[in-house]
Structure formats: structure tokens, C-alpha cells
């Protein structure tokens, strides 16, 4: 069999759940269209090899059925091929084929691959192999052909950021001199303009924070407190940049990353069986950001992998929640940094009984407090709460320790998500294990497990 050197036999006989398949969909329309194709009817000659490749012919509107193939075994993530004209990736046929396979025993029986499917698999695995070989030999990072020129560019950029930070400090001082009450009248315009100045200064991190300030006066009672907090932290960041040469290296790296300078994952690769805890997207007008939380079942370290897509399009990286993948992660620089880059993958994601180790609500907040020492701008830390009960609390909800009189309120955003009700339903008033983000705004649940045996329930 071609590609046997990948050692990807773990995917054999392992089926994903429908939810895991649907998480691959690039948008809601594909998700729906794929669901409709996830039944035996339109499919003929569907089959699978033992090592994680699927293929089939899907009847479309034309006379010739589409040839659809999926390679799940590839360590760099699922790969798709379809003869349909769709430009979505994966297309609805690939999703349908995966759903067919996920949904029903024996719907995609093991059999010999037809010629066209064999060619595709052999072709792409061959390419992947040579790419890996190439990456292995040329160890030097790409790009920096002329280190001197790169140094000059970095120097120029740092000067512009410094100019921007100085201007920002001046504007914050002006604001505090006149009083925050005046900011309420000034509205968005003031912040939009300052944000644009920070973009010009090549400090996108500062720009994003400045723009967020504009929204705070409209967030209801208590806005002056929140605005002062964020202004003060922005001031702290500006000061951090201006005095970065006097900071310890870890904190200086954090400041550089927060200001928005380009950073790359330089940490040594850590190989582990990484359990996918949660995956969710946030979008603004320019960019879709996908956040994927991974838990090292041996290292017990929780890491964040980010993936980006153009506005309105799904980021390319998709990992199915509840499965674990044998892979290497490299940390980004900065003290207490959770963010990591996904490196080499040694197998396709596979089911696991592992769950993250949990703790109490008091300990969760203590961890957040600890983390602020390394990164005072941190909004939340990833925490797994053990034995908590979702309880209604006025208009909101909280997660209450089953065994102590202590609870974490949910963040305002988490209250309005449908995941809240899945969590409440799962609990039924009994303790559950909940993974989420814990910070100064409260707790955002992202995944939950029942007290007894049972699969993870994604909440985001």
C-alpha cells in the first residue's frame, strides 16, 4: 500500500461522530448540504481502505456521478478530492461521504480502491512525502535571505511602533485630563481615529485594543470601571513597550506579541497525545480566527492553536473535538504563553478515553491570578473544573462547586450561547466536568463531560 511509511494505522476501524465531521464544514450551507448527502441513496461503489481513505461515486444533477475521495490518514490533516465544480473545501460531497461513513455500520465497506482513487492517494501522499523530505534537509528557516536587511527592517518598524506608543500615551493622558465622562460623548470616532493611527504605526495589537475601548461606554452600567481598567492596561502596555529593554526577557516577549509584532513559534517541539478540547471561531470584518484548545494527555499541558481565514471563510485547520492526535507542538515566545503551533503530526486523530485533569473554582481563579504575573493583559486562562453544577443565578448562570460554597459566574457572552443549554441538560442538576476559559469576566464553558463514563459534549 502506498504511504505505509506514515505509520497511520491508528485510523483503522475508527469512525468519527457526525459532529466531528460537521466541524470540518467550511460554512453552514455546506453543513446542511453535506447532511443531506450523508445517506446511502446518492452513493454507489462507496468503499474504504483499512488505513483511513474513503471514496465513492455521488449522484448529482448530471449524468456522470462525482468521484469523491477523502484521505483521513494523512498526518497533515484530512485531504479531499472531488470531481464536482464546487470551490468549497471540503465540498458537500466529501462531507456527505464522511457522514455516510460516520453514520452507519457497513455503509462504507472495506474494499479494493478503484483506479482513480488509488491514483489520487498515491499522488498526494508522494507529494507530501517529498515535501517532508525537503523540509527535513533544509533546516534553515525560509525567508531571511539577508539577515542585515531584515535587521534594518525590524529596526525601522520598532521606531514606528515607539512613535505610535508615545502618541497613544499622549492621547490617554489627554483623555484622563478631561475625564472619562467626556469619552461617552466623543463616541466611536475618537477611538477609530486613534486606532487608525496605531495601524499606521504598524502596531496592530495596540490598534485592536484601542478600537475595543470605543465600545465600552455602550456596555451598560459600570462602564466607567471597565473603561478605566482597559485604559490603564493599554497604558501599561505602552509603557511596557517604551521600557522593554528593562523588562525580563519573557515579559518583553509578551509585550512584543501583545503590541502586535510578528512572532513565530520557536519553542522546542513537544510530542504528546493531544486531546482536542474545543474549537470555535470568532470573526470580525476582516478575519475569521479559529481557536483550538489542546490538552497533552501526558504532559498535562493545555495549549492553544490558532488558525485564520479570510472574512466569512472557515480557517483551514479543523480538528475534531474529543479525539486525540499524536503530534508535536511548538510554543510561541513569551512567559506563560499558551499559544503554540502545530508541527508534525504522526497519526490521524483517534478516539481516546482521556479527560483533562480537573480542579475547583477557587483553584481556577488562583491560576488566573498566577498567570497575570507573566501576562497582566491576559483575559482568561484555560481550566477544567471538576464536579461543578450549573445553577441559575438571577438573569445569569454560574458553575457551583458540588462540594463547597463557591461558584464562578458565566461570562455575559456564554449566557446567550446554545451551548449553555447543552451543559445544563448534560448536568441535570448533578456534578459535571467542564473545560473552559476562566478570567476576570467569569467563566466561558467550552466542553463538558458527564460524571460517569460518556463522550465529550462540545459547548461552543
Amino acid at each position: 500500500m502506498v504511504g505505509s511509511s506514515f505509520g497511520s494505522m491508528t485510523s483503522q476501524g475508527v469512525r468519527w461522530t457526525a459532529d466531528q465531521v460537521l466541524a470540518l464544514a467550511p460554512d453552514t450551507a455546506s453543513r446542511k448540504a453535506g447532511s443531506r448527502l450523508g445517506a446511502a441513496g446518492p452513493w454507489t461503489e462507496a468503499g474504504s481502505s483499512g488505513d483511513g481513505t474513503l471514496w465513492g461515486l455521488c449522484k448529482g444533477s448530471g449524468r456522470t456521478p462525482y468521484r469523491t475521495a477523502v484521505d483521513l490518514a494523512d498526518a497533515s490533516g484530512p485531504a479531499y478530492s472531488c470531481s464536482c465544480p464546487s470551490r468549497k473545501f471540503p465540498c458537500k460531497h466529501a462531507l456527505g461521504l464522511l457522514l455516510l461513513w460516520a453514520g452507519e455500520d457497513g455503509a462504507v465497506p472495506r474494499r479494493e480502491a478503484p483506479e482513480w482513487a488509488r491514483e489520487w492517494i498515491a499522488g498526494r501522499r508522494g507529494r507530501a512525502e517529498s515535501a517532508r523530505a525537503a523540509a527535513g534537509t533544509s533546516g534553515a528557516p525560509a525567508g531571511s535571505a539577508d539577515p542585515e536587511a531584515a535587521g534594518r527592517r525590524a529596526q525601522r518598524r520598532a521606531e514606528r511602533v515607539t512613535a505610535g506608543a508615545t502618541e497613544l500615551e499622549q492621547r490617554l493622558a489627554d483623555l484622563l485630563r478631561g475625564g472619562l465622562a467626556s469619552a461617552e460623548q466623543a463616541g466611536y470616532g475618537l477611538w477609530e481615529e486613534t486606532g487608525a493611527r496605531m495601524v499606521d504605526a504598524q502596531a496592530p495589537g495596540l490598534a485592536a485594543r484601542v478600537r475595543e475601548l470605543g465600545a465600552i461606554p455602550g456596555t451598560g452600567p459600570g462602564w466607567p470601571v471597565r473603561l478605566l481598567e482597559e485604559c490603564a492596561l493599554l497604558h501599561l502596555l505602552g509603557q511596557g513597550w517604551l521600557h522593554r529593554d528593562r523588562l525580563p526577557e519573557g515579559l518583553a516577549a509578551t509585550v512584543r506579541a501583545r503590541v502586535g509584532l510578528p512572532v513565530s513559534a520557536e519553542g522546542p517541539p513537544v510530542r504528546d497525545s493531544w486531546l482536542v478540547l474545543a474549537q470555535y471561531d470568532t470573526a470580525d470584518t476582516r478575519l475569521t480566527t479559529r481557536r483550538i484548545w489542546l490538552y497533552g494527555t501526558e504532559s498535562r499541558h493545555t495549549a492553544l492553536v490558532l488558525s485564520y481565514g479570510a472574512a466569512g471563510r472557515a480557517p483551514e485547520l479543523a480538528l475534531p473535538v474529543g479525539l486525540a492526535l499524536d503530534a508535536e507542538l511548538s510554543a510561541y515566545p513569551g512567559a506563560g504563553q499558551r499559544r503554540a503551533a502545530l508541527g508534525e503530526r504522526f497519526s490521524a486523530p483517534a478516539p481516546t478515553a482521556a479527560r483533562p485533569a480537573g480542579t475547583t473554582t477557587s483553584d481556577a481563579l488562583a491560576r488566573y491570578g498566577e498567570a497575570l504575573r507573566d501576562d497582566p493583559w491576559l483575559d482568561a486562562v484555560p481550566v477544567t473544573l471538576d464536579r461543578v453544577i450549573p445553577a441559575p443565578d438571577g438573569d445569569s448562570w454560574q458553575l457551583a462547586d458540588a462540594d463547597e460554597d463557591a461558584a464562578l459566574p458565566l461570562t455575559p457572552a456564554a449566557r446567550s450561547r446554545p451551548g449553555l443549554w447543552r451543559l445544563v441538560a448534560l448536568s441535570g442538576g448533578a456534578p459535571v466536568t467542564v473545560f473552559g476559559e476562566c478570567g476576570h469576566q467569569g467563566f466561558t464553558p467550552l466542553a463538558a463531560w458527564p460524571q460517569g463514563p460518556g463522550e465529550v459534549v462540545p459547548l461552543c
Binding site: 441513496g41 444533477s61 478605566l228 481563579l365 491570578g369 441535570g428
Partner: protein
């Protein structure tokens, strides 16, 4: 973060009451340093920076020192669900059916893929027949689905079980679930505990009382009637009407005295309902009075060549008739006398006609000619009587032979009435009649009749429908003229028929006079039909308990009971899952 309290970290250098100084910082920031000098600073240009420095330190300190809030009152745990958990494959299927929920674009061409949401009612009926408990995390989607579709509610709530009810109490969007359940928040009292029953009857909300009465009626009809009689005089008129209506189930001769007394009620609607219920009791005094009145209007005329029925409609609507529920005022456009006649015949016991008309059977009576154009009025009234008294012999006679030429045309008996008559026959006879009808008259009039047939369709009926669809295709019209029937077939055909449909999947050469492209659309429609049938077979197979699940890939008939048995009710009318109207 209202309930999380900021507290000082244990570090000794932060001993100076931070909460107070934070308030001071916020106040200063609001007013501006030009108006108020921050603590520890000289007024002037440096003051804002001093303020920001202090605020930054305070912010990080406040965040680092966060402590958990006090726990609110925890919800009482949901009651245990003793049912076995859903098999994993079935749980995945349910999630998929619910994912399709937000589809619903009725205008889009349907393509070859099945309509998953339409399969949810069958899925729920089959899961309930097996008595599975749902995976808790799916309950929100299920409750949302049933919120939008009232016809799904009974099965969805039964499947949702105690955890679903527990959840519905926490979310106002799902309040309907509490209304649908007797007693709402609290469990209904044990009907064998007379004290609890009486207390709820006296103190309960209207919906709780209706639910109590209905539940009690289904177990001990007499106890329910006595409970109602105990407070009858003090109930409001509209409540009396609703309560009276709940006596409809389990109606028996014992109810007659109570109903007879209700004929003198203050409310006209209550009187009418009481009369209607009494007329459904052929042995009641009211039925007897009606038999006399109706009999006086209808007679056998033997003077002609062949015996015929002559009708002499009543000349007045006297007080006695009105007391027995006859409405005196005819609707606009109807003659008074024929209006009164219709009501008398409808309420008279059907058994009386045999005696009145020379010992003839219902079939012979229906076959008699009726003089002076009264046939339509008379037969329509008999139809209503047969439905009300659930009399299969009369229903059969009035339905006639399905293959009779007039059965397809605008005869005396409308399709709606036929559907109601069919509902009084048993499932097999119903299916055979409708199959005969379709063989003779095709599908264009069959939708309503198919709606009363038990699911899955009996083999002869299923074959008749498929043959008729095949004929319609050969006729060259577009399939969407038949989309209503097609949709029914997807949901009601026996999945075992899928293999017989294979031959219809090919795209044949189009005949000369066919609508352009019709053949392709038909192939697509049949493709969807086969896909849906396969899906239904898979659905049922997944729900079968592990020990008797058919091996994968075996398309045999599933052994678990079909949805028809699961939802068989004494009042089997159009099953809820096929109540959707045709799309065109």
C-alpha cells in the same frame, strides 16, 4: 462579574484598603485630573500618568485577587430516567435529523437528498416504542424543534422524559412543555388518591384541571364524570364546555343522566356539545327522540316501479328539538327545512334505519333511489352519523366500491367525508379501499385519503401508489404535480419496497410529447424516494436493541415495531407526521 468579589491579595504591601482607593481612582478618572487631583500626585501635567499608573496596578491587583462567588441555590436534580440509553448509532442519527432542522426553504428544488426533518416524527415514534432515554445533550435541540412544530410535541416530550421536563422548567422558551404535561411543575396526583385528586380539582389552574380530568377519564370514566359533576354548577361557561369535551373519550351509557341534565345548561355551546355526545350513544333517550323525529321525515315509497325513499323535511324547529341540540337558524344560503333535516338524521342512531326502511342492510338502503333531489342532503347526513357513531358497516356502504366511476368524481360524498369514513374502518380494509381507488382513479385525488392510512402502508397500497407514480411519469408531466403524494410515499412506504423501486431510477429516453427534462426530474424524485426509504430502514435498524439488530447492509424489514403501531391511538385520524399539506 457582579458576584465575584475583588479582595486584597495576601501580600502585606497591599494592606491599604484597595477597594476604597479604587473607587477614588474611578471617580477621579470620570471627572478628569483637571478637576480633581489623584491621590499621591501633584496637580498638573503629570497627574494623568500617575492616575493611569495607579489604575493599572489596581486593575491587575483586582483581577489577580478575584475569589469565587457564593454559590446560588443549586437546581434540584432531575428525576432518574430508568429507560435504557439510546444506541450510539441511533444517537448520531438523531443529532443528524436535528441538524437539518433549520433547512425549511420550501422553494428550493429538493434534489435527490432526503428531507431529514420530515423523518423526525417517525424516528421519535420508533424510539418511544422501544422506550429509550435520550442523550441529555440533544434535549435543547429537540425541545427547540418541538417548540416550532406543535405536531411533534407529544412524541418529543415523551422521548425527552423527566430530564426534558426538568430542563423546560429552566427556560421560558420551552414553557409549552409544562403546559402539555399534567400538573406542569409538579407531578400529577395519583388518580387512586381521591384526596389529592379533589384538592387539585378544587385549587388547580384551568390547564391542570383539564389534564387531571382527561387523565382520570382514561382510567376510570365514572370517577371523572362524578368529579366534574361535583363542581358543575359553579364552573364558568367556557370552562364547562372544555370539561364536557373531555368526556368524549370513554363515553358510555352511564354518562347519559349527566349529559341529559346538561341539555338544560345556560350556555348554548354546552347544550350543543351535550346533545352531540348523547347522539353518539345510540341507546340514549335523546337518540331515541331523534330517531322518532328523523323517522317521521324519511319513508319508503312502494307505489312506484321500484321502492324509493321519500323525504318530507320538518316544517318547524320546536322547543324540544332545540333542547336536543338542533340549531334553529340556518346558515346563510341554506334552506331552513333541509338544515333541520340534516341535523335530525345526523343525530339519529343508524341502527334505526334498517327497521324503518323494510329491514334492509346499510348497503341496500344507500342503493335506494331518493325522490325529489334529497339524496345529497340525506347521504351527507348519514355520513356524518356514521363518523360520529363510528359505524363501519354504514361507512362501508356510504363509501361504495373504490372502483365505482362516481367515486372519483364530484359525487354526493366529498373526499374529506370519505377520509373520515375510512377512518372508521380497520387499517387493512382502509388500505385496500384506497389502493382500489388509486388503481382506478390515479393519484390526483388521493392525497387526503392516503393521509388516513396506517404507516407503513400495507403492501397492496404501496404497490398501487408506486404503479400510479410510474404511470404518471410515463404520461410525461413534471413530478412536482405529485410532490404531495411523493412526500407521503417517502414517509409512509414500507422501507422493504425500496428494492422494487430500483428499476425506476434510470433516466429513460423522453417520449416526444413529454415536458422537457421531466424524465430527469422523475429519476431524481424516485432517487430521493429510494434514499429516504433506505434511510428509514437504517433508522429503524439502529434503534433495534443490540441482540436482534440485523447485520449491517441487510436491507430486510426491520423487526422492531413500525411507527404505526407505536402511535396507534383510539382516534386514529391523519397521523401527525403526514399532516403537512401538499406543496402545490
Amino acid at each position: 462579574m457582579s458576584r465575584t468579589t475583588a479582595a486584597a491579595p495576601p501580600a502585606p504591601d497591599a494592606a491599604a484598603a484597595p477597594a476604597e482607593s479604587w473607587e477614588e481612582l474611578v471617580t477621579t478618572a470620570l471627572l478628569g485630573t483637571d478637576r480633581r487631583t489623584p491621590p499621591g500626585s501633584a496637580p498638573g501635567t503629570g497627574a494623568p500618568v500617575v492616575l493611569l499608573d495607579a489604575a493599572a496596578a489596581a486593575t491587575v491587583r483586582r483581577r489577580a485577587g478575584l475569589r469565587p462567588a457564593r454559590a446560588a441555590e443549586r437546581p434540584r436534580p432531575a428525576a432518574e430516567d430508568p429507560r435504557p440509553p439510546l444506541p450510539a448509532a441511533a444517537a448520531r442519527r438523531l443529532a443528524m435529523l436535528l441538524t437539518d432542522r433549520r433547512g425549511g426553504s420550501a422553494t428550493a428544488r429538493r434534489g435527490t437528498a432526503p428531507d431529514l426533518m420530515e423523518l423526525l416524527p417517525q424516528w421519535l415514534a420508533a424510539a418511544n416504542a422501544h422506550g429509550y432515554a435520550p442523550p441529555p445533550a440533544v434535549l435543547p435541540a429537540l425541545l427547540d424543534a418541538a417548540r416550532g412544530r406543535t405536531d411533534l410535541r407529544p412524541a418529543a416530550l415523551r422521548f425527552a422524559g423527566p430530564r426534558g421536563l426538568w430542563l423546560a422548567r429552566l427556560n421560558p422558551d420551552w414553557r409549552y412543555a409544562l403546559r402539555a404535561t399534567p400538573g406542569g411543575a409538579s407531578a400529577p396526583p395519583d388518580p387512586s388518591d381521591p384526596e389529592a385528586v379533589r384538592r387539585l380539582w378544587r385549587e388547580g389552574l384551568f390547564a391542570e384541571r383539564v389534564a387531571l380530568l382527561t387523565a382520570l377519564r382514561s382510567r376510570t370514566p365514572a370517577a371523572a364524570r362524578e368529579l366534574l359533576a361535583s363542581t358543575w354548577a359553579t364552573e364558568r361557561a367556557e370552562d364547562r364546555l372544555m370539561f364536557l369535551d373531555s368526556l368524549r373519550s370513554g363515553l358510555g351509557p352511564d354518562d347519559e343522566p349527566f349529559l341529559e341534565q346538561a341539555l338544560d345548561d345556560r350556555s348554548r355551546n354546552v347544550r350543543a356539545t351535550a346533545a352531540e355526545l348523547l347522539s353518539a350513544l345510540p341507546g340514549s333517550a335523546l337518540a331515541g327522540r331523534m330517531a322518532v323525529r328523523a323517522g317521521a321525515c324519511v319513508a319508503l315509497d312502494r307505489t312506484g316501479d321500484a321502492p324509493a325513499i321519500v323525504v318530507e323535511a320538518p316544517h318547524e324547529c320546536d322547543a324540544g328539538m332545540q333542547r336536543d341540540g338542533v340549531v334553529a337558524k340556518a346558515p346563510a344560503g341554506r334552506g331552513e327545512r333541509s338544515w333541520w333535516l340534516g341535523q335530525l338524521v345526523e343525530a339519529a342512531p343508524l341502527a334505526a334505519w334498517s327497521r324503518r326502511l323494510g329491514g334492509r342492510t346499510p348497503g341496500e338502503i344507500v342503493a335506494l333511489p331518493v325522490a325529489d333531489g334529497w339524496q345529497g342532503e340525506l347521504h351527507a347526513a348519514w355520513c356524518r352519523a356514521a363518523v360520529r357513531q363510528r359505524d363501519p358497516a354504514w361507512a362501508r356502504a356510504l363509501l361504495g366500491e373504490p372502483s365505482a366511476p362516481e367515486a372519483g368524481g364530484p359525487g354526493a360524498v366529498s373526499l374529506a367525508e370519505r377520509a373520515e369514513l375510512l377512518a372508521t374502518l380497520d387499517a387493512e380494509e382502509r388500505a385496500a379501499w384506497v389502493a382500489g381507488f388509486i388503481e382506478k382513479h390515479g393519484l390526483s385525488e388521493a392525497f387526503q385519503l392516503l393521509g388516513v392510512c396506517a404507516v407503513p402502508w400495507a403492501a397492496p397500497l404501496g404497490r398501487a401508489v408506486v404503479d400510479a407514480l410510474d404511470i404518471a411519469r410515463d404520461a410525461g408531466s413534471y413530478p412536482w404535480s405529485f410532490s404531495g403524494v411523493m412526500g407521503l410515499a417517502e414517509r409512509c412506504l414500507d422501507p422493504a419496497e425500496a428494492s422494487r423501486l430500483e428499476a425506476l431510477l434510470a433516466v429513460p429516453d423522453e417520449p416526444q410529447d413529454a415536458s422537457p427534462g421531466a424524465a430527469g426530474y422523475w429519476a431524481e424524485a424516485f432517487q430521493r424516494l429510494v434514499t429516504t426509504l433506505r434511510l428509514r430502514a437504517a433508522m429503524l435498524r439502529e434503534l433495534a436493541p443490540a441482540e436482534d439488530r440485523a447485520p449491517p447492509g441487510n436491507p430486510g424489514t426491520p423487526r422492531c415495531p413500525g411507527p404505526a403501531q407505536a402511535q396507534a391511538q383510539p382516534e386514529l385520524r391523519i397521523p401527525p407526521e403526514i399532516r403537512t399539506p401538499p406543496e402545490d
